[in-house]
Structure formats: structure tokens, C-alpha cells
């Protein structure tokens, strides 16, 4: 990524972080830097700028791991495996962040860090999937076998994801905003955020997404170069 873009991304994320944390939440927002109260969230609302993007990105990362797994199985090109691996590395990091930010939010909003709410269960399941995927990879020596078997597992795991995302929250009652018995449809869907809040929120989402893609490109390219160098060293 060119330097100007990197600087812009840095400034964007700085702005989002500062705005997200420092702008006060008041009942009747008058100034441009004030956020409204949202029923059910109140003071804790600010975490939405960080928690939602991390959850969003871990799912995007998983989607990409699955896509590159499918590509690998079709063409057997190890570059696709490197791309899937880079995506999964970021995916597990964002998954841990999402789980932790979610648990912190849960403590303040619902009273305890963990209560097996369907969405909490889902993010935990995703963490287990990532963990299992890395465990599988580390148990296989041969490059091609490792890529093939982990691609197959990624695809199988991916098809179970719809069960978590869409079905479980509907049938199980939960504390999460937007669950089956929440009378609000959730702050995002209902647009209870005012214009400023929405702006910061979407800027945060965009900023983190660009950051993710940048890190992913760096990740897979470094894996590919490292492998090429290793092969050169042995052939002599």
C-alpha cells in the first residue's frame, strides 16, 4: 500500500479511536461531538465502535479462509493455501479481540462476563474452529497434505457457520441486542444512533476493514516469499 494511503489509514483509525472513546454521551445531543443515550446500552455504547468491527472482521477472515481453501482444492496452488493461512491468522486474532471486548461489554451491561447467550456461544465456537484448524495444520508435515486437509476442514467448518449466525439466535432467547426476545431490534438496525454516531461507527468499520486487508496482503506475501527462499536454499 502506498505511503499516502498508509498515513490516511493511520489518521482515520486515530480519529475513530479518539472520537469513539472521548465523545460524551448525553441525553439531548446538541453539539456535533455528542452521542445520544441508547436504551439498553447507555454509557457502554462506545464499545460498539470496536467490538462490532472485530466481530465483523473475524467472520470476513473466515469467509476468506474458506474461499481460498476452495481455490486451493481446485488448482492445488500453494499460494492459495498461503492466502488462506494469512486470513486465518488475522481471523483468530480478531476473534479473540471480539470475544474479549464482548465479555467486557457483557460485564458492564448484563452483570457477568459470560452467560452462554447464543452470539457469545457462536463467537466461542468460531474460536474453537480456528484453534482446531491451527492444531490440524501443526500435526501434518507434508506441505500439500497439510494444505489439502486443512482446506477440507475449513470448508466443513464454514458450512456449520450459518447454523450459528442465523438459526441459534432466533430459537434461543438471549441477552444480546438483536436476539429473539429483545424488544429493541438493536441499535444498528433501528438507527437509534444519531447521525454523528453512525458516521463514527461506519468510519470505524471501514478503517478496520482496510487495515485487515492490508495486513492480510502483507501476511500472505511474506509467507510466499519465505517459502520460495526456503526452496532455493535447499536446492542450492
Amino acid at each position: 500500500m502506498k505511503t499516502t494511503w498508509k498515513i490516511l489509514l493511520f489518521l482515520l483509525l486515530c480519529f475513530v479511536s479518539i472520537a469513539g472513546i472521548s465523545f460524551p454521551i448525553v441525553k439531548n445531543p446538541q453539539a456535533w461531538y455528542e452521542f445520544p443515550f441508547i436504551k439498553g446500552l447507555e454509557e457502554n455504547a462506545k464499545i460498539i465502535f470496536f467490538h462490532v468491527p472485530t466481530a465483523w472482521l473475524t467472520v470476513i477472515a473466515f469467509l476468506m479462509t474458506a474461499i481460498y481453501s476452495i481455490k486451493y482444492l481446485r488448482k492445488k496452488n500453494l499460494d492459495d493455501d498461503a492466502k488462506a493461512y494469512a486470513a486465518a491468522q488475522l481471523g483468530i486474532i480478531f476473534c479473540i479481540l471480539a470475544t474479549v471486548t464482548g465479555a467486557v461489554w457483557a460485564k458492564f451491561a448484563w452483570g457477568s462476563f459470560w452467560s452462554w447467550d447464543p452470539r457469545q456461544t457462536s463467537i466461542f465456537a468460531l474460536l474453537l474452529i480456528y484453534g482446531a484448524w491451527f492444531a490440524l495444520r501443526s500435526s501434518i508435515e507434508s506441505e500439500e497434505k497439510r494444505a489439502t486437509l486443512s482446506s477440507v476442514y475449513a470448508i466443513i467448518a464454514f458450512v456449520t457457520v450459518p447454523f450459528f449466525i442465523f438459526i441459534m439466535p432466533r430459537i434461543m432467547t438471549g441477552l444480546h441486542p438483536g436476539s429473539a426476545d429483545d424488544t429493541n431490534a438493536g441499535p444498528i438496525v433501528d438507527f437509534k444512533m444519531n447521525g454523528n454516531m453512525q458516521l463514527i461507527f461506519f468510519l470505524s468499520l471501514i478503517g478496520f476493514t482496510i487495515l485487515y486487508f492490508w495486513m492480510w496482503r502483507l501476511g500472505y506475501k511474506s509467507i510466499i516469499y519465505r517459502d520460495k527462499l526456503n526452496k532455493k536454499l535447499i536446492r542450492g
Binding site: 482444492l73 456461544t121 465456537a125 474453537l128 474452529i129 484453534g131 482446531a132 492444531a135 490440524l136 500435526s139 501434518i140 508435515e141 500439500e144 497434505k145 489439502t148 486437509l149 482446506s151 477440507v152 476442514y153 470448508i155 466443513i156 467448518a157 458450512v159 456449520t160 447454523f163 450459528f164 438459526i167 441459534m168 430459537i171 434461543m172
Partner: protein, 219 residues
């Protein structure tokens, strides 16, 4: 039929050597005993009873369902199978074996469980039976494909539960829910969404496994 012949071969091998059957039987007895000892004289709630039932099923599955592929790999007879059968035949044959094994195993567990835990009362038995059948099918499908994956990797024993649990989680959660419904006497009408979930799970896992097995089997 070729898959059926492979299934017959596995069954007679099993009956002759009795490796898996003995191990599984002992495992079920030991697990039930441990749970009974830990509970002691405490009375457990019906929802706990329903959940515990599936805990036992999960761990018993983890100890017995990987044998279909792992024993072939460890003995070196995978090569033999590759020489006499197409991948789809191997997959169907092994799947059939695991299906029978799952049903046998879980029926034994269900019978022992209802005998030992008096809170395990099934008011809507038809619902339990339907969900039992659907869930067992899903369990067999998922555990077979994961068994194929780990048979080709290292660290087979410990890796099997690690890989299986995330994949089985939607099935286990819904099955626990359905068991609780059956214990409460809920009607089929109310439970139909959960039954549909398990049904979809079965179909999806089977389709994905069938399509991906060739990649696992041939190196």
C-alpha cells in the same frame, strides 16, 4: 453392493477381534459410573439430566468412531482399499459402519441412562425417538468425515475431539434442546423448528462430506 461388502468386511473384522466393541462397552460403563459417583445422592434437575445424556454420547463417540479409518491407516491397509475400491465406495461403506455403530452405542446408552437416572423421564416418547434418529444420523455423518481427516494426519487420538467438537456443536445444542422438549412433553408442533434444524444439518453435512472425501482419501 460394493459399499455393503466393505461394511460386511468391517463388521466381521470387528466381531472377530472385538477391539472397538470391548473398548466402547467399557467406556460407557466407566463414564456412567463416574457421573453417578460424582452426583452421589444429590438430586439433579431434569434439564441437567437431559444435557448430561448428550455429554456421555459425545465422549463415547469420540472414543469409538474414528476406528473405521484410523485402523486402516495404522495397519497399512488403506493402500489395499485404494486398490480395490473407488473413493465413493470407501466413503459409503465406512459411513454405513459408523451409522450402525452410533445407533447401537446410543441405544445402549439411552437404555442404561433411563435405568440409572430416574429424572430421565420422556413424556413425549415419539418426539424423543424422532430426534434420536435424526441426531444419530448427523452424529455419524460428521464424525465419519472428521475421522477420515485425522486418519491422514498425525496425533490422531487427541486431534479427533478437537476437530469434531466445533462441527458437532450445532447438532449437540439442538439435540439437547429436543431432548429437553421430549422430557417436558412438548408437542411436535412446537419442536418442529428444531427438528428441521437437525434435518438440515444431516443433509448439509452429508453433501459436503461426499463432495470433499475424494480430496482427503487420495494423496
Amino acid at each position: 453392493m460394493k459399499s455393503y461388502a466393505l461394511f460386511k468386511k468391517d463388521i466381521s473384522s470387528e466381531l472377530r477381534t472385538r477391539y472397538a466393541i470391548n473398548a466402547l462397552a467399557m467406556f460407557i460403563i466407566v463414564t456412567l459410573s463416574i457421573i453417578l459417583f460424582s452426583i452421589g445422592n444429590e438430586r439433579i434437575s431434569s434439564s441437567l439430566t437431559g444435557g448430561l445424556f448428550w455429554v456421555i454420547i459425545f465422549f463415547t463417540s469420540m472414543s469409538g468412531l474414528s476406528r473405521v479409518f484410523v485402523s486402516e491407516e495404522e495397519r497399512g491397509t488403506s493402500l489395499t482399499l485404494q486398490l480395490i475400491a473407488a473413493p465413493s465406495t470407501v466413503f459409503s461403506g465406512k459411513l454405513l459402519f459408523n451409522l450402525i455403530l452410533v445407533f447401537a452405542m446410543n441405544t445402549v446408552i439411552a437404555i442404561l441412562y433411563s435405568a440409572l437416572f430416574n429424572t430421565f423421564v420422556l413424556k413425549n416418547f415419539a418426539l424423543f425417538l424422532t430426534s434420536f434418529i435424526l441426531s444419530n444420523i448427523g452424529l455419524a455423518f460428521a464424525s465419519t468425515i472428521i475421522a477420515a481427516i485425522i486418519s491422514k494426519a498425525g496425533a490422531k487420538g487427541t486431534l479427533y475431539p478437537v476437530l469434531s467438537f466445533p462441527i458437532l456443536l450445532p447438532l449437540i445444542l439442538t439435540s439437547v434442546q429436543l431432548t429437553l422438549f421430549a422430557m417436558d412433553g412438548t408437542s411436535f408442533e412446537t419442536a418442529k423448528f428444531e427438528l428441521a434444524i437437525v434435518g438440515c444439518y444431516d443433509v448439509i453435512i452429508f453433501t459436503v462430506s461426499y463432495l470433499l472425501f475424494d480430496f482427503i482419501w487420495k494423496e
